[in-house]
Symmetry: C2
Subunit: 514 residues, 2 copies
Amino acid sequence: MSDSYAELTGLLAEAATLASASSLLSWDQETGMPAGGAQLRAEQLALLAGLVHERRTARRLGEVLASCEADVGISADPIVGANLREIRRDYDRAVRLPSALVRQLAETASLTMEAWRDARERSDYAAFAPWLDRTLELVRAKAECLSDSGSDPYDALLDEYEPGATARDVEKIFAQLRPPLTTLVAEVADAQPDSGSVGLLRLPVNAQQALSAWLVQRIGFDVTAGRLDVSAHPFCQGVGPGDTRLTSRYREDALLDAIGSVLHEAGHGLYEQGLPKREFWGQPLGDAAGLGIHESQSRLWENMVGRSGQFWTWLVPEARPFLGSALDTTTADALHRAMNAVRPGPIRVEADEASYNLHILLRFDVERALLAGDLRTGELPGEWNRRMRSDLGVEVEDDAYGCLQDIHWSFGAIGYFPTYTLGNVYAAQFWDAARREMPDLEDGFARGEFESLLRWLREKIHRHGRRWTGPSCANRSPGKLQVPLPCSATLIASCALCRPVKLPPVAAGINFAP
Amino acid sequence: MSDSYAELTGLLAEAATLASASSLLSWDQETGMPAGGAQLRAEQLALLAGLVHERRTARRLGEVLASCEADVGISADPIVGANLREIRRDYDRAVRLPSALVRQLAETASLTMEAWRDARERSDYAAFAPWLDRTLELVRAKAECLSDSGSDPYDALLDEYEPGATARDVEKIFAQLRPPLTTLVAEVADAQPDSGSVGLLRLPVNAQQALSAWLVQRIGFDVTAGRLDVSAHPFCQGVGPGDTRLTSRYREDALLDAIGSVLHEAGHGLYEQGLPKREFWGQPLGDAAGLGIHESQSRLWENMVGRSGQFWTWLVPEARPFLGSALDTTTADALHRAMNAVRPGPIRVEADEASYNLHILLRFDVERALLAGDLRTGELPGEWNRRMRSDLGVEVEDDAYGCLQDIHWSFGAIGYFPTYTLGNVYAAQFWDAARREMPDLEDGFARGEFESLLRWLREKIHRHGRRWTGPSCANRSPGKLQVPLPCSATLIASCALCRPVKLPPVAAGINFAP
């Protein structure tokens, strides 16, 4: 390797090490920080964001990058070439943002998240609105820095989370998803599976926690290189090589939520642990391909594994050491059916698989309108509630269960929500391909065999980092996307609703390696 | 305030914010980090240590400091003057250390702590010795940078933890403490208080944890500005304004250890919360006066409060909501006697009040010999065990219970141990003064009244930060130090052993404000 390339990767590694310190501070803010530490935390994160940004936009970085690009001896290598392509992408993007704005965004995000927490607890939208205004103002400034004149500012934001995607691409996909999803939700609403006495289960939180900790290990999460904690909002934070943090939450009457949530976060965690971070620390090749792909991994474990009958056949007897005889009043079959019940409700993270994407479609429209100024923050609750009624048939009685439910806008993440649905779409593709290659995959779940699936994901997706993203993808084997129909459909409607829908190739975002 | 002074304090605040991020990372390393994260954590801490050091030694900082010192209009102010005196002290010390050495020390410390943890678990001193050698080499290099020629390198290290103290001062104090302590331990060894069935108590860890969490609040620790967690080694980390972290540890058969430990750490925590950090962020006036004073606060709550009969009279009925009827088999009097039992053992942190300081005296001698090269690391276990036998009459059967028991040397802290005994000495002084001013202080403990003591400590000690340290102290009202005789002496020997011993004024280190 050339000296320039060694210097380049060294500079990126230092920036990543600093950024990983921020990442741990953010994890702590959600899991442990006392309320009194909020102001200092905001200052720490702002300071570190500025230092990371300085490093990622350093003139020297630009020089060595250009010198590597010009050196055909190294840039012709497919691995190094892909790395350079993505480093260039990141660099050109970063240098458009002034340091002061980056620091302001970080500090405002940290404080706004605290304000959001308070406001949501009291369902006090009015208290949150000024914070949202301030955040939108900074996010608009950011979009303006990142956009070429004449382009949609939303694209510039979306591009951070889903490299190469545009609002128009997302619109097209969502337009195709909306009709079949709406039909599906309506059709299954009156044909719920009978889940017997599952709804009456009350299980101690400690026992659910111990079961969850065991389960994540059982599906392959390495706890010597990660942990599982409790937080108000489950999440996964990949701090760095050897350190991936999961959180989940537990309620006595919500075993199914706990299992779904921990499988979801472990899916993210397995991806983080499967990325070649040690080899490519701070480089795109060691980094996630995008949030859509990240979400595909979590949804795959949550939905394709966790909502399968075979999974529950295996889990019920295995759960006995943790839950004792508590599950004796029910059956694996009833739990499986309960896990797949379709009941549209106000909360996205508790949504069933069928209505989930409708929550995302709503947020996509609303956040575009907010960014463009077509919807004022004062009008947000009204618009939100109107859409919940028309799209999902749900009455929102309280902003805490409405437009205040999600944390994303409070940290300035406009353009993030679409990646959830894209993730569902990718997951359906991956699942389809995996089952074609391993027809007895699901049978293995009934025996607690998850290694084949994980090995396949590691091989096809995880180890490649950000190698296959952006426009280069569309030119590979775009394949056919399927609407991510939920298992509930297969349960209830005998697959009659599983119509594959062709989507534009660009939506693929990434294509797993051949 | 002048522009220079504003710039000076701004520069210090930024360095403190960065340092506080390190502080949180260190807390996490002890409380939650998975083993796989050790290498990245070492790199994060090294990088941050370098960035903090750059800021604390910046040429611009030196310039504005000099300009403030020259400006009589501001330096004549007693508050600002004290601040400038201490900023100068820190700056002159910091500029002697090369950045590379600071980064190496931080990285080596982080990795050596992990190696120490492993080695201690397996009682494998041979595995730790090379790490200790490497650490000693770096610490010697540090001492050399900090020392004037001809001076004792140990002084330069001690000065970091106990500003202004020298090895000779410590020697003098320790020489005076050794004979009465040795006599005391021997005299009380055969006259143990009868603590009935206390030794048979078995209390669920969860219940002890809940009791501890309640207790720290009850004595005044603000949990909206701090938390209490579990770690293998109890400690307190003052992250910054509004964020002070305590840890403790629990064993079913060790309620008294749990209470002692949590009072100790809460004592540190109350000091951290009482320092004017928000007003003087990053400035000496917002910082602790030194580790001896810090330790005086923890030992005061642990020993003077927690080993008092009145405290137990109050606690036993109050503990019922947490422990149920578990304490019905014993009495407050028996618990009080058990808390004051004197039984020399191999472990410092479990030592009774009488023998505790003998552990420190041993460590002081051993670490000086290690630093000077008079004792090689290969000879450490033998020397340690010999001294344990001669000083405490204890046979060490296992290095995990011998020279591997403490974490300090693994993070390069040579010169730290003496501050534990100095803390005991200061605590005795403070306690003496507080009782003279408030003769019914202890009676209040029996009613759960701790506010007067905390208010007194806040007023006399906490709010002053590092205002009264170093040589300026000796010229104030040095007072008379007392040997910190344990409560057990008052219980067993009816105060016959409470002989005040005069110590050299310089040992005072700090004197509480008049």
